[in-house]
Amino acid sequence: MTAYCLQSAAAVPYQLTILEASQRLGGKILTPRFTQYPHYYEAGAAEFYDYTPVGEDPLKELILDLGLSIRAMDGGSLLRQGRLLGQLEAIEDELGPEVSAGWRTFDRLAKDLMTPREFYEDDPRWLSGKASAEDRFSIWLGHNSSPKVRSLIETLIHSDLATEPDQTGVAYGLQNYLMNDPAYMRLYSIEGGNEQIVSELAQRIEAKICLGQKVLGVETSSSGTLRVRSQSTGAGQDAEAERTHEFDYLVLALPSGALKAIQFEPGSLAAALDAHKQRFHHPAHYLRITLLFSQIFWRELLPDAFCMLEAFGGCCLYDESARDPSAECGILGWLLGGKNAMEHGDLPDDALIELALASLPEGLADARRYLLEGRVHRWMSEVSAWPGGVPPISLDARHQPAGSQHPNLLLVGDYLFDSTLNGVLDSAQYVAEWLAADLNVQAAEKVTATAAQ
């Protein structure tokens, strides 16, 4: 993404090298296919956020510019004891009038605290006078809802939050609640799989792409460049071979957890990165269980693209086959978040598949009969529980952790904004424009120096 943005922003020629530890580009955007039947499913980022109800949406524009088609996704109702609780009236019938009324009150408070524009701007300053940027969401939730309402809200947002309410701030917690309201944002996915955005971007960038190169360490050189040590993760002759690369600029586009695995040169560089990790490392976790069934047996009960289950402390159940109307088989995907994802992450795949099947309500008890294949994808510490950092700092400081001492080391990540794919684009654009400006200045200085000689 950064390479693509840089290509659009830079006015002078440059050489770009991409080092990727795995054998594929895309990170958390992953659209694999089943073995028994070649239907695709989303194993990572399941959807994109559409901010057009409030303002411009550069990511959606980019996706459409790349020639990709999108499909709106609706859902979010609670599936409880075989009944889809899609409206307040159903909540009232099932959980009682006090829960329904409490939810309305909570909803009003949440919307009073964050308008769609404030949600869109994602500016921590809006909180001033209403709540502290360091207040935990659990405390605010506890003050503004009864235990039953709190439990309902937690179930509804747990999988999106990917953490527990006591591990995140008020702003991020509220954002994850308010995102269910179509006046704030909507959801969509890319027809044919979200990973297409990665392949389309890769086709358009001019860069030397080195797959299977894990970055081990970063050091400075006497000339001011940055030296990167990497190790081959591939098989064959090059396996585990170490290589050294030297760059004028280095952009680390990694989850905050992955930064920990890199050794930075002791001194100012390591100290700056340690401070950055301390501020931004609030690990959150996802676990995805996706099952292929010989038929779609749930549409009567689950007509939407996704719903919420009470199982696993609140998880999201995706009808993955809704992404592809031509699918002959059915696909259901469970998205577990936070503590539950972490706790279940160590279990073997078979056990997780059994647990997923057991979490289905009575009306879908036949699931086991139709099961063809199951896949599990673990995303431990891959997302941020408190994006933007605690306490929040300026965008410059987020992206340039070592400041003026090492200005050529830059960071890109969703955790620097709002833990979304839109956040990745914002971050990538910020750094790309910065780099492009630097490159332009350097080119101008060279021309002036040449002319002076």
Partner: protein
């Protein structure tokens, strides 16, 4: 109007408390009604069985837009009742439009067709569901009326294409008609402008039964897309009548300009003749 219910034409027994109401939206819109949901029915009566001959055969107002049957029940409706209600709903005033949509939501069943709708719900859900249904069907009805108006106007529009290109003395006789049609088009544009924001109203969160009924009926009847098409068609009408008006003005301007020129020419001729005559008589 005859209302055959079931195949064997038996009377269909309805749950206690069932009512049949007649609504007419167009009048309310024209007279500046604040919202369809606030409309009171033109006539409402409790009925025990269908066909409800008294109500259905003799509507009080000549143009009833909707007959709404409301059945309060906590019990699961029987298959016979459902098929009977569906048959009644499909039996709209227009024999070519015998179609019926069905919406099932939160234990509430809604059948709707072009001129009739039926709502089966638990008594405690009836009020909100009825208001939402009336509002959504009201929008649909308004839009359909506009579409019908547009559809019926194409032939007339064809004959009005000529004055939109070139105006002649012969067409001057039609200018009152053309002006009236242009005013009608602007009136329809104003109606659509009033209606469109209501169709684009975003879904409500947390969703309620009423909000979802509204959203789903709007979605199922493709109101947003239809409003866009209607807007495009209205644009064609506007262009034709605007151009016709422009051509008419140009024609009238040209005509008066020509007349003025002829007057000047005649005056000049008269002057020349007068000068010649006076000169011939030796007047200095």
């Amino acid at each position: 109007m005859n209302i055959p219910m079931t195949n064997d034409r038996k009377l269909l027994e309805l749950p206690p408390g069932t009512t049949l109401s007649e609504y007419c939206w167009n009048a309310a819109f024209v007279s500046g009604g604040k919202g369809l949901a606030r409309l009171s029915p033109q006539r409402e009566a409790a009925i025990q069985c269908l066909p409800a001959v008294a109500l259905a055969d003799e509507p009080l107002v000549p143009t009833v837009d909707l007959q709404l049957l409301v059945l309060p029940t906590d019990d699961e409706p029987t298959a016979e009742l459902l098929s009977g209600i569906q048959a009644w709903t499909e039996q709209s005033s227009d024999p070519l439009e015998r179609r019926c949509g069905l919406l099932q939501l939160q234990g509430c069943r809604i059948f709707w067709g072009p001129g009739r709708a039926a709502l089966i719900a638990a008594p405690r859900r009836l009020d909100s569901a009825r208001v939402a249904l009336l509002e959504a069907i009201g929008y649909e009805s308004r839009l359909r009326a506009l579409e019908n108006w547009l559809e019926s106007g194409w032939e007339q529009l064809q004959s009005d294409l000529e004055p939109a290109f070139e105006f002649s003395e012969r067409q001057l006789r039609r200018r009152t008609d053309l002006r009236q049609r242009y005013q009608d088009v602007l009136g329809k544009r104003a109606e659509l402008a009033q209606l469109t924001p209501r169709l684009h109203f975003p879904p409500i969160y947390p969703p309620t039964l009423a909000s979802q009924i509204g959203e789903r009926v709007r979605e199922r009847t493709r109101l947003v897309e239809r409003a866009e098409f209607a807007s495009q068609q209205l644009e064609v009408y506007e262009r034709v009548y605007e151009q016709a008006g422009q051509r008419r003005n140009e024609f009238l301007l040209q005509r008066s300009s020509n007349q003025l020129e002829w007057i000047i020419i005649l005056l000049l001729l008269a002057q020349i003749v007068l000068v010649e005559m006076l000169g011939g008589q030796g007047v200095n």
